[in-house]
Symmetry: C2
Subunit: 267 residues, 2 copies
C-alpha cells in the first residue's frame, strides 16, 4: 500500500501535538490525519483546518464521541452536550466522520445496548444538521467492560439497520474485528456504510488492554486481505493507521511515524 | 450457590500438587475437582482415582486436549498421540469430560478451522471407545491468536451440529463468552450439549492474556444470571471455579481456595 492511501491517526504518534501530527503526516507522505480530541484542547479549529488544508491533508475522522450508557439523566445530558461538541469539532475540521465509541456493558448489558441505541438516535438530527457522518466503531470483546458493548461488526450493522439513517455508518478497525468468523461477510454487508477503515496489528500475548497493538506487519492479522475485502465492499477512502502502543509511545514521534510508513509498505 | 455444587479447578489453586488439590477440595466442601494435566505428571492414575473417590469427589473435567492446527503431518501425528493420551487420562480418572482447547488461528484462519474440525472428527472414535466425552471450549477472542480459533459459543454449537456425535459437547466458561450479545440464546441452543460449566470473573483493564481473571464476584460478569441460564438450558452438573490469576497465584493455595469459596457464596 502507498502511504498516500493512508491517514495518520494521532494516537500512533502519541506525544505529538496538533502541529506535530500535521507536520509528521505531511513529511511522511500520508494523505490525511485522524485526530483524537485531546489534541484539539486549546487549538483554534478554524486555524487548525487551514493548516491541515495547507498541508494538502484531509481529516479522515475525529475520535471520539459516544459513551452513551450513563448512570442517570444528569450524566446523560452532560454526555449529550459533549457529543454535540464533538460533532461541532468534526464539522469545523471538515472531518469525514466522527467515530463513536459506544460505551461499556456495565452490570446491565441489555440496558447499556438500549442506551447506546437511544443515544445515537438522539445525536443523529444534530449531526445531520452539521453535515457530520457518525461512524459506530465495533470494539474488540476484550474492551466490552471498559469501552464498548458493541463487540462485533454484525452488531454494528444490526444497529444501523435499526436506526436506518444514511448519516450513520461504521468505523472498521482490523484490530477489533479480525478474529470474527463472520467478518468477511459482515464487511460485504456493511458496503457503503464503511465510513472509516483502520489498521493496527494484533500482538500476542496481550500485555495491556489499550496499549498492546503492533504496527501493521508486526502481528498476526492478514491486513492485506482485510483491506482487499473492504475495497471489494466499496470502501474508497484512506486507510487510517491507528496503533495504540505503549512500546511505540516510548519512542520519539518521528520514529513511530517511520515505523508506520514501513508497516504500510509491507501491506 | 453452595460450594458442594461446585468443582475446584486445579489452576485456581496454582502451585498445589495433585494431593493438595484433592485435600483443598475436600476441606473446603467442593463436590468435585477439575484437573489440569500438568498435575498428573508422575502420578499413578489408578491410585489418583482411588484418592479422589475416597475423598467423596468426582472429576468434572480434565484440561486439556486439542491444539489441532499444526504445521505439518508429523506435528499433527504427535498431537493426535497426545490427545489420545489425554483421553486415556480422562478415562482413568472417570472424568465427566475432556476439555478441548482447539488451537489458534495462525496466519490461515480458514485452514485452522478446517484442521480443528478434522482433528476432532479423528479423535471422536477413540474417545467413544474409551467412554470419554469431549467438550469443545469456546475461547475469548482475546486468545484467538494464541489458544483457540473457536471464539464464540455459536461457533462451538455449529461445529457440534456439523460433526453430529453425542460424545461431543461444550465446556462453557463465563469468562470467555459473557460479552456476546447472543450468549443466552446460544446457551439455550447448547442445552444437553453442556458438558461443563465454568466460572471466573472479568476484571478490567486486562493486564495479561492468561492471568487477569478474578474470583467470582470480583469482576463485572453477572454470574448468577449466567448460571441460571445454564440451569434453565438443562445443565445439572457441578459448576467449576476456574480462575487463572497471577494475583491469586501469588497467594498460598489455601488462601486462594478460601477466596473461591467466598466468591461462590456471593453468587
Amino acid at each position: 500500500m502507498l502511504t498516500s492511501e493512508c491517514s495518520l491517526n494521532s494516537i500512533t504518534v502519541r506525544g505529538a501535538d496538533f502541529n506535530d501530527v500535521v507536520r509528521l503526516a505531511r513529511s511522511h507522505g500520508f494523505g490525511g490525519v485522524s485526530l483524537w480530541r485531546d489534541l484539539l484542547d486549546g487549538v483554534d479549529l478554524a486555524t487548525a483546518a487551514g493548516k491541515i488544508a495547507a498541508a494538502g491533508l484531509c481529516v479522515t475522522s475525529v475520535c471520539r464521541g459516544g459513551m452513551f450508557p450513563q448512570p442517570d439523566d444528569a450524566a446523560r445530558r452532560a454526555r449529550r452536550d459533549d457529543n454535540r461538541l464533538a460533532v461541532d469539532q468534526a464539522h469545523a475540521l471538515e472531518a469525514e466522520c466522527l467515530v463513536l465509541v459506544c460505551g461499556p456493558m456495565g452490570a446491565d448489558p441489555a440496558g447499556a445496548r438500549r442506551q447506546i441505541r437511544d443515544g445515537i438516535a438522539d445525536l443523529i438530527p444534530y449531526a445531520r444538521q452539521a453535515g457530520v457522518k457518525l461512524a459506530i466503531e465495533p470494539f474488540h470483546p476484550m474492551m466490552a467492560a471498559s469501552r464498548s458493548a458493541v463487540t462485533s461488526l454484525s452488531e454494528a450493522n444490526d444497529l444501523i439497520d435499526a436506526l436506518a439513517d444514511p448519516i450513520l455508518g461504521i468505523a472498521l478497525d482490523a484490530y477489533h474485528v479480525w478474529w470474527d468468523v463472520n467478518v468477511e461477510h459482515q464487511i460485504e454487508r456493511a458496503g457503503p456504510r464503511l465510513f472509516s477503515v483502520q489498521i493496527g496489528d494484533w500482538l500476542t500475548p496481550v500485555t495491556s488492554e489499550l496499549g498492546a497493538r503492533g504496527m501493521p506487519g508486526e502481528g498476526c492479522i492478514d491486513l492485506s486481505a482485510f483491506i482487499a475485502t473492504a475495497r471489494r465492499a466499496g470502501y474508497r477512502g484512506l486507510v487510517e493507521v491507528e496503533v495504540l502502543s505503549d512500546r511505540w509511545s516510548a519512542q520519539p514521534a518521528d520514529v513511530a511515524a517511520d515505523a508506520a510508513v514501513a508497516g504500510i509498505a509491507a501491506v
